[in-house]
């Protein structure tokens, strides 16, 4: 994104821009998700209005909440492993920031352009497990411990179907670079017709479903929220956290939801692009500069749709039991995604 700008920006300026961009890319979706879905959609689904007092239609509620959390005391339990206890939420939040790094938002609007971007994203996505596990362990609370262990078991079980679901996309696109995957979808054509490009959700629908289920589990949203499980484990690994450390977990939860939705939209819905045939573009160099502005907005829209679905499911379903979830992951999702890979590979070779 920097190279295209008319003015030459020194390195520190570029870094600053990246940091600000990263903060915006993580916090803006998180805030919007919390307000739009957690505050408003959930309330409306339950026949109530949600926060209405702070700002017009309660839109400033989130800032009030953040202010409240920042004021609260940062409590560390007496028997807790204090240093690790304090680091844990940072690990969770940092993993979210690291995740956003590889996501392309436009033809030139990216933070880094890894050639193995998919690989990196999936690897970093599981770093938060460590944060959650140590949070559960170091809290010196039995509920937290159970929650942390559940989270570890669950997140590991769902890494695999997620990775396998993505493999189908990678095979089809022929690249692990996210930018290439976006290009492949937007320049592709369906039986010679390129009106809507070729979003992989059409051919990889099974993969998409599995990916979304795995994301749901990865984010510990209902019906896979056993690590938190308010009614059983009293918020699981977060039980003992308060103040701004709780806030970090909270932001982490919803920011990660947004980031995973971004990844899903990149992998399956054509990412920042709109079908290039509309404008007669064929390669990435031909794409107009304004897509660097429009691209993030398009991404944002797609992300909102996907997180909307994630939240909708969350507000409607009861939760599984831990063993049922493991069974579901290992007996249903993994075989299914393996079959998906096989079919994709065969079709790829044959066609």
């Amino acid at each position: 994104m920097i190279a295209q700008l008319a003015v030459e920006i020194p390195y520190w300026g570029q870094s600053l821009l990246r940091v600000v961009g990263g903060l915006v890319a993580v916090l803006l979706p998180a805030g919007t998700i919390v307000y739009l879905f957690l505050f408003k959609m959930m309330s409306f689904m339950q026949s109530r209005l949600g926060p209405m007092e702070a700002g017009p239609f309660g839109s400033m509620q989130l800032f009030a909440e953040v202010g409240k959390w920042l004021q609260k005391e940062d409590i560390v339990p007496e028997n807790a492993d204090a240093r690790i206890y304090k680091i844990a939420p940072i690990i969770v939040l940092v993993s979210t920031f690291l995740l956003v790094v590889v996501i392309p938002f436009g033809p030139d609007a990216w933070f880094t352009n890894f050639s193995a971007g998919v690989f990196y994203a999936l690897a970093i996505g599981s770093v938060s497990v460590i944060g959650i596990l140590v949070a559960g362990w170091s809290s010196a609370n039995k509920y937290s411990l159970l929650g942390g262990l559940r989270a570890a078991g669950q997140l590991i079980a769902y890494e695999l179907p997620m990775v396998l679901a993505v493999v189908g996309v990678v095979i089809q696109a022929g690249s692990m670079n996210l930018q290439d995957i976006v290009m492949a979808q937007n320049t592709g054509e369906i039986f010679g017709w390129s009106g809507i490009g070729f979003p992989f959700v059409l051919t990889q629908f099974v993969g998409f479903l599995i990916f979304m289920i795995a994301v749901q589990a990865e984010l510990t949203q209902a019906p896979f929220d056993m690590p938190i499980a308010e009614s059983e484990l009293v918020s699981g690994y977060m039980t003992e956290y308060s103040g701004f450390r709780f806030l970090m977990f909270f932001i982490g939860e919803f920011a990660t939801a947004g980031v995973f939705a971004l990844i899903a939209s990149v992998l399956f819905l054509g990412g920042w692009g709109i079908p290039f045939s509309w404008f007669g573009w064929e390669t990435i160099d031909q794409v107009d500069n304004w897509m660097n502005i429009a691209g993030p907005l398009i991404m944002f829209t797609k992300m909102m749709v996907l997180t909307g679905i994630i939240m909708w499911v969350r507000f409607s379903y009861p939760r599984f039991r831990e063993d049922q979830l493991q069974r579901f992951a290992w007996k249903v999702l993994i075989p299914l995604s393996l079959a998906n890979i096989a079919v994709t590979a065969i079709v790829k070779v044959v066609v």
Binding site: F44, M45, S47
Partner: protein, 161 residues
């Protein structure tokens, strides 16, 4: 017709509620701005008509929580008819109801033989200090304004004597 999976139906219910809330408004009331009006019979707060009270102590005696405190002294009131003898009446010195103790059973209102106690549906009298929940006879008297008329009865009810 094939049965829809329950998972889809569940999503339908929540989405249906969302649409209904957007269209018809929520079922909740935004409390300080809008208020629900409680039914006429609602037992909110007890009002006292001081003139009717004879300090007969029936309410205080029948209160299960012992939350009514009455003190009175005897004095002479002007005669009912001109030229009659002055009557001796109990003049109320103190009539307190401790709402921190009261359990809103309504027995006192019921036993009162002189129609001095009434239920009012008023409910907004919470206090930051528990001691302020002790309402004295002036405060109880002020509630009289909020006492509604008794509602008409349903078909088939026996007329009140």
């Amino acid at each position: 017709m094939p049965k829809l999976p329950g998972l889809i139906k569940g999503l339908g219910v929540t989405m249906g509620t969302l649409v209904r809330t957007v269209k018809d408004g929520a079922n909740t009331v935004q409390y300080p701005h809008a208020k629900e009006s409680p039914p006429v019979r609602a037992r909110g707060v007890i009002a006292l008509r001081e003139d009717n009270c004879t300090a007969c102590m029936l309410c205080a005696r029948s209160c299960p929580d012992w939350c009514i405190y009455i003190e009175a002294h005897k004095q002479l009131a002007p005669p009912r008819r001109a030229g009659g003898k002055p009557r001796q009446v109990n003049h109320l010195d103190r009539f307190d109801i401790d709402y921190a103790l009261c359990m809103y059973c309504g027995i006192c209102v019921e036993v009162c033989p002189f129609d001095a106690l009434f239920w009012s549906p008023e409910y907004e009298y919470s206090e930051p200090r528990i001691a302020d929940l002790l309402h004295d006879k002036t405060k109880l008297g002020e509630w009289m304004e909020t006492v509604p008329e008794a509602p008409a009865l349903e078909v088939g009810a026996e007329k009140k004597k």
